[in-house]
C-alpha cells in the first residue's frame, strides 16, 4: 500500500515538475529521490509498518509475496534509473514526462502483483500497459518507434479485450470477481463458461508476458522502441506480468489444475523452443535480447506450471536475476552506436571492467553456476521436477544449452575478436560503478540466494 500510493504520487509530482524544474539533472535527481522513497516505504511495510490504513474491500492484498516483488521491481527500477536515466534525454524533449510515465507503470506493476480481484488485475495490467504504449512511441520522429507503438497498442488492446471477455465469463460461472474463494460447484463438474474464461485469461496473460504462440509482437516492439525503454519493458514489466500470471492461476484456477496443466506445459515448451531457436539467428544484439526475453519467459512459465513453494521462491529470484542482468546489458547497449554483434568486437580491450560485468550478466542469463541466473533456473527446474514433469525439465535445460550459443556469441565478440567498430564511446565513472555493483549483486545472489528469499518468510 505504501509503495503503491507513493509511486502514484511520484508520477503526479514528476508530471508537474517540468513546469518548475528546467534543468534535466534536477529532474533526474528528483526522480531518483522519489524512487528511493518508494523503496524505503516498501521496506518499512515489509517490516510490518503501513502508513495508510485504507480499506480496499478485499480488492488488493499486500502479502509478503506481493511486497517482496514490489521491492524487487522498485529496486530494479532504481538500477534502471541509475544505468539508463541519462540516456533518456536523447529520446525526446519531454524528459520529466518519461519519469512520470515510468512511475505510473510502477504503480500498475504493484497493483498487478497484489490483486485479489479480477477487476484489480485488469486495472493493474491496463495502468501498466498504457504508459508503455506512449513510451514505445516516444521517439516521435522515428518511423520504427511509431510503428512499434501502434503495433503494440493494437495487439495490446486486442489481448485486453480477450482478458475482459475472460473475466466476464469467469464471473458468469462463479458469480464473483474475487480470487481465492472456493468455486460454487463441484470440481469434477467444471462449467464450460469457466473453462472458456480460463482459456481466454490464459491467452491474454501469455500475450502480456510474450509467451509463444502469442509472442509475435515482442521482437518488433522491443526493437522499435527507444532502447532505454525496451530495457524497462523487457524486465520489470515482464516480471510483473509473470507475478500476475502466477497469482491468477494460483488463487483462482489452482483448484482446477487438470484443466490447464497440459496447456501451460505446451506454452512453456513452445516458448522455450521458439525463443531460443530464433534468437540464435539474430544479427542485432537488441533483437537477440528481445528473443532472449521470450526464451527466459519460457522458463518463467514453468513457475506457473509447477505452482509450488519452489516456484514462488524461484519466480521472485528469477525476476530479480533476469531483470538485473538484462538492465545491465541494455544499459551498455544504449550507449553503443552499432547494435550488431560485430559492433562489440574488441570491446574487452578498450573497457576491461565493463566487459567483465557484461560477462557476468551474460553468464547469469545463460544460467552458469555462481550467478543468480543459475540458481533461478535451478529453482524452476526443481519446481518442475517436483511438479512431476521431468521431461519438461530436460527439454528446458536443453533449450538453456541452446541459449548459451547466442549469449556466448557476445562474449566471443567482446573478448576474442579484434576490431574497434564503435567502441570509442564515452562512459562516465558512475555508470561503471553501477554496472560493477549490479554484477556484484548477480554474483552474491548466485551464492547466497537466501538473502533475497528469506524476505518471503521473515
Amino acid at each position: 500500500m505504501n509503495a503503491l500510493l507513493f509511486s502514484a504520487l511520484s508520477g503526479v509530482i514528476m508530471m508537474f515538475s517540468g513546469l518548475i524544474l528546467k534543468n534535466n539533472s534536477t529532474v533526474r535527481m528528483l526522480a531518483h529521490v522519489l524512487l528511493l522513497a518508494v523503496i524505503i516505504v516498501n521496506i518499512v511495510e515489509l517490516r510490518g509498518v503501513s502508513f495508510f490504513n485504507i480499506d480496499t474491500k478485499e480488492l488488493l492484498v499486500f502479502d509478503r509475496f506481493a511486497l517482496l516483488f514490489t521491492l524487487v521491481a522498485s529496486i530494479c527500477t532504481l538500477a534502471f534509473f541509475l544505468v539508463s536515466s541519462k540516456d533518456m534525454v536523447r529520446v525526446g524533449s519531454n524528459y520529466p514526462d518519461y519519469f512520470a510515465l515510468l512511475f505510473f507503470v510502477l504503480s500498475g506493476v504493484i497493483i498487478s502483483a497484489s490483486f485479489k480481484s479480477l477487476l484489480m488485475l485488469f486495472l493493474g495490467i491496463e495502468i501498466l500497459s498504457i504508459p508503455l504504449y506512449i513510451l514505445t512511441g516516444s521517439d516521435k520522429r522515428n518511423l520504427k518507434s511509431n510503428e512499434a507503438s501502434l503495433k503494440y497498442f493494437l495487439m495490446g488492446s486486442f489481448s485486453t479485450g480477450l482478458m475482459l471477455m475472460g473475466i466476464a465469463l469467469v464471473y458468469g460461472a462463479t458469480g464473483t470477481f474475487k480470487t481465492g474463494v472456493p468455486f460454487p460447484f463441484e470440481l469434477n463438474k467444471v462449467p464450460v463458461l469457466l473453462t472458456a474464461g480460463m482459456m481466454l485469461l490464459l491467452f491474454s496473460m501469455s500475450f502480456k508476458v510474450s509467451a509463444a504462440p502469442f509472442h509475435f509482437w515482442t521482437p518488433d516492439v522491443y526493437d522499435g522502441a527507444p532502447t532505454v525503454f525496451t530495457s524497462f519493458m523487457a524486465t520489470i514489466v515482464k516480471a510483473a506480468g509473470f507475478i500476475a500470471f502466477m497469482r491468477l492461476f494460483n488463487d483462482l484456477f489452482g483448484a482446477i489444475q487438470p484443466q490447464w496443466k497440459l496447456l501451460v506445459a505446451i506454452i512453456a515448451a513452445a516458448t522455450l523452443f521458439i525463443g531460443n531457436l530464433t534468437a540464435v539467428f539474430q544479427q542485432s544484439v537488441k533483437r537477440m535480447l528481445a528473443y532472449s526475453s521470450i526464451s527466459q519467459a519460457g522458463f518463467m512459465v514453468l513457475a506457473v506450471y509447477a505452482l509450488n513453494d519452489d516456484a514462488r521462491e524461484g519466480l521472485i529470484l528469477y525476476t530479480a536475476a533476469y531483470s538485473i542482468a538484462t538492465i545491465g546489458i541494455f544499459g551498455l547497449l544504449t550507449k553503443m552506436k552499432d547494435y550488431t554483434f560485430e559492433g562489440f568486437n574488441g570491446f574487452a580491450k578498450q573497457q576491461p571492467v565493463l566487459a567483465a560485468t557484461m560477462v557476468t550478466f551474460l553468464l547469469s542469463l545463460a544460467g552458469i553456476p555462481l550467478t543468480a541466473g543459475f540458481l533461478s533456473k535451478f529453482y524452476m527446474l526443481r519446481a518442475t521436477i517436483n511438479g512431476g514433469s521431468i521431461w519438461l525439465a530436460v527439454f528446458a535445460v536443453l533449450m538453456a544449452a541452446v541459449s548459451v550459443y547466442y549469449y556466448f556469441r557476445l562474449i566471443q565478440a567482446m573478448y576474442f575478436k579484434d576490431g574497434s567498430g564503435n567502441v570509442s564511446i564515452q562512459l562516465s565513472p558512475s555508470f561503471k560503478y553501477t554496472m560493477v555493483a549490479l554484477a556484484a549483486v548477480t554474483i552474491v545472489l548466485g551464492i547466497f540466494p537466501n538473502l533475497l528469499i528469506n524476505w518471503l518468510y521473515f
Binding site: 553468464l363 544460467g367 552458469i368 553456476p369 555462481l370 535451478f378 527446474l381 526443481r382 521436477i385 517436483n386 521431468i390 525439465a393 530436460v394 535445460v397 536443453l398 538453456a400 544449452a401 548459451v404 550459443y405 556466448f408 566471443q412 573478448y415 576474442f416 575478436k417 547466497f448 540466494p449 537466501n450 528469499i453
Partner: protein
C-alpha cells in the same frame, strides 16, 4: 581443513593474479601458489591423514538441502595429487612461452585448478555441479583467448558439448534429490538410495552422458581432437592430463554407487562404446601427421580402456583405473611438453616436416622416449602396472562371459596399435636425417630438462615400485566394492 585449503589457495591465488600486471611476477606468483598446493596435497596424503584434516563441512544454501562439504578419500587423494603435481610441471615447462595479457592467463589457470580440486573433493551433488562448471568456464576463456587460429569455433563446440551434457546431469541430480527421503544433495543420501531398476536405467544415462562427453567416450568425442589442437599447450595439458579424469571420476563417484543395477545392466553397451572408441581412435592416431592430434587420439584410446576397466566391476580393474588415471596424467603431460618444445622451436607440429632431432637434441630424445614408452605401457614403466591391472579386471568382468574375451582381445589390440603410433612418432621426430628446419635445432633448456626428468623419475619409480599409489587407493576400492555389492544384491 586441509581439503578446504586445496580449493581456497588456488582460488584466492587466481583471483589475485588478475591484478599482477608484470609478466615475471605473475609467473612467479602462480608457480608459488601451485607449489603451496603441491605441498598441501602431499601433506594430505602422507603425514596429515587424520579425518579432521581430510573433511570439511559448512552450511550453505540450507533450504536447498545442500551443504559445502568436501572430503579426501583414496580416489580424491590420487586425483588431487595428480592435479597438484601437474600444475607446477606445466608452469615450469611453459615458462618460456610468451602470452599476451599474462595476468589473465595465469589467473584463469589457477581458477581452473580451484575448480578441479573442488570437483575431486566435493561430497555434495550440487556443490559438485558448481565446481564442474567452475572448472569449465576458465578453460573456455583460456582456449578461446590464447589458442590458435580456429580457436573460437572449436572451443565453442567444446563448451556447448560439455555444457549441454552437464545441464542434463543437473536434471538427473535434481531427480535423485527428490528421491532422497530427507531431501538432501549429500553423497551419503544418494548412496543410500534404493532406486527401482527401470528408473535407474534411464537416470543412469542422464548422468553418464555428462561424464562420457568429458572423457570422451565414443561417439561423444568429436570435440576433443580439435580442442586439443587449437588450445594453447598449457591449457591442453590441463585438459588432457587432468580434466578428462573428471569424467572418469564422476563415473566412479556419482554413477556406479548410485546406480549399481543400471551400471551392471548397461555395462556391455558402454564397454562396447568404449571399445569401438579405443580401436577407432588408435587407427586414426596412426594416420595423423599433426603431433597434437596424434596425442589427442591416443588419449581417447587410453581413456577408453579405463572406461572399460571401470565397467568391468572388478576390484582389480578399479585398482588399475586408479593407477592409470594418475599415470596417464603424468605421461600425457610429458608428451605435451615435448610437443610444446618442438612447436616453440620450429613453429610446426607436422611429423612430416621434422626428423633427425636425436642428433641435435639427445637429452630431449632420451626423455621423450622414456615418456613414450610409459605411454605405450612397457614393463618397468608406470603405464604397464595400470594397464596390466586393468586388463586383468576386464578379463574378470562379470557382465557376460562370452563378451569378456572380445573386450579383452580388443583392448589388447589397442596396445599393439598404440605401439605403432607411438614408435612411429618417435621415429619421425628423432630419427632419420635432419632437414633444413631441424638443422639448427638446439636441445631442451635446463628447466625443461629438469621437469621432464622429474616426470621420467615418476614414470620409472612407479613402474618399479607402484605400492605407495596402490596403498592410497586400496581402502577406497574396498569401500566402493562394498557399497556396490550390497546395493546390487538388494536391487536384484
Amino acid at each position: 581443513m586441509i581439503v578446504l585449503l586445496l580449493f581456497l589457495v588456488p582460488l584466492i591465488g587466481g583471483l589475485l593474479s588478475f591484478f599482477i600486471k608484470n609478466d615475471k611476477a605473475v609467473r612467479g606468483w602462480s608457480l608459488l601458489v601451485s607449489l603451496i598446493v603441491l605441498f598441501l596435497s602431499i601433506a594430505s596424503s602422507t603425514f596429515l591423514k587424520s579425518a579432521t584434516y581430510l573433511t570439511f563441512s559448512a552450511p550453505w544454501m540450507g533450504n536447498l538441502g545442500s551443504s559445502f562439504s568436501l572430503k579426501l578419500d583414496g580416489l580424491s587423494q590420487i586425483l588431487t595429487l595428480l592435479t597438484a603435481i601437474a600444475y607446477p610441471v606445466i608452469l615450469i615447462a611453459t615458462w618460456k612461452t610468451e602470452y599476451k595479457r599474462p595476468n589473465n592467463f595465469f589467473a584463469l589457470m589457477l581458477l581452473t585448478q580451484a575448480g578441479l580440486m573442488g570437483v575431486f573433493t566435493a561430497t555434495d551433488a550440487l556443490l559438485f555441479y558448481f565446481f564442474w562448471e567452475l572448472a569449465l568456464i576458465p578453460v573456455y576463456f583460456l582456449c578461446s583467448g590464447w589458442g590458435h587460429e580456429r580457436r573460437i569455433a572449436v572451443t565453442f563446440k567444446f563448451f556447448i558439448y560439455t555444457f549441454t551434457a552437464s545441464v542434463v546431469m543437473l536434471v538427473g541430480i535434481l531427480y535423485l534429490y527428490f528421491l532422497t527421503p530427507d531431501h538432501s544433495f549429500s553423497m551419503q543420501s544418494f548412496y543410500a538410495l534404493k532406486i527401482p531398476a527401470n528408473t535407474q536405467s534411464w537416470l543412469f544415462w542422464l548422468l553418464f552422458i555428462a561424464f562420457a562427453v568429458k572423457m570422451p567416450v565414443f561417439p561423444f568425442h568429436t570435440w576433443q581432437p580439435d580442442t586439443y589442437e587449437q588450445s594453447p599447450t598449457a591449457a591442453t595439458m590441463v585438459l588432457s592430463g587432468i580434466m578428462v579424469k573428471m569424467g572418469l571420476f564422476g563415473l566412479i563417484r556419482w554413477v556406479w554407487p548410485i546406480f549399481p543395477g543400471a551400471f551392471h545392466a548397461w555395462g556391455d553397451v558402454t564397454m562396447s562404446m568404449a571399445l569401438i572408441g579405443v580401436i577407432y581412435a588408435s587407427l586414426i592416431a596412426i594416420q595423423q601427421d599433426d603431433l597434437k592430434r596424434l596425442i589427442a587420439y591416443s588419449s581417447i584410446a587410453h581413456m577408453g580402456i579405463m572406461v572399460m576397466a571401470t565397467f568391468s566391476e572388478s576390484a582389480i580393474g578399479m585398482q588399475g583405473v586408479l593407477m592409470q588415471m594418475f599415470n596417464h596424467g603424468i605421461n600425457i603431460i610429458g608428451l605435451w611438453i615435448v610437443v610444446e618444445l618442438i612447436e616453440r622451436q620450429f613453429g610446426t607440429r607436422k611429423l612430416s616436416q621434422l626428423g633427425g632431432l636425436a642428433q641435435k637434441a639427445p637429452a630431449l630424445a632420451t626423455l621423450l622416449v622414456i615418456v613414450a614408452l610409459g605411454n605405450l605401457a612397457l614393463p618397468l614403466t608406470n603405464g604397464f602396472i595400470g594397464e596390466f591391472l586393468m586388463f586383468n579386471g576386464i578379463w574378470s568382468t562379470n557382465t557376460a562371459n562370452t563378451h569378456r574375451i572380445i573386450f579383452t582381445a580388443g583392448a589388447l589390440i589397442s596396445i599393439i596399435l598404440s605401439a605403432v603410433y607411438t614408435l612411429n612418432m618417435i621415429k619421425k621426430i628423432f630419427f632419420g636425417s635432419t632437414n633444413t628446419l631441424t638443422e639448427t635445432a638446439h636441445d631442451a633448456y635446463l628447466n625443461e630438462r629438469i621437469i621432464l626428468g622429474v616426470l621420467v623419475i615418476i614414470i620409472v619409480v612407479l613402474g618399479v615400485y607402484p605400492q605407495p599409489l596402490l596403498n592410497l587407493g586400496n581402502s577406497f576400492v574396498d569401500v566402493l566394492m562394498n557399497n556396490v555389492n550390497v546395493a546390487n544384491l538388494i536391487v536384484k
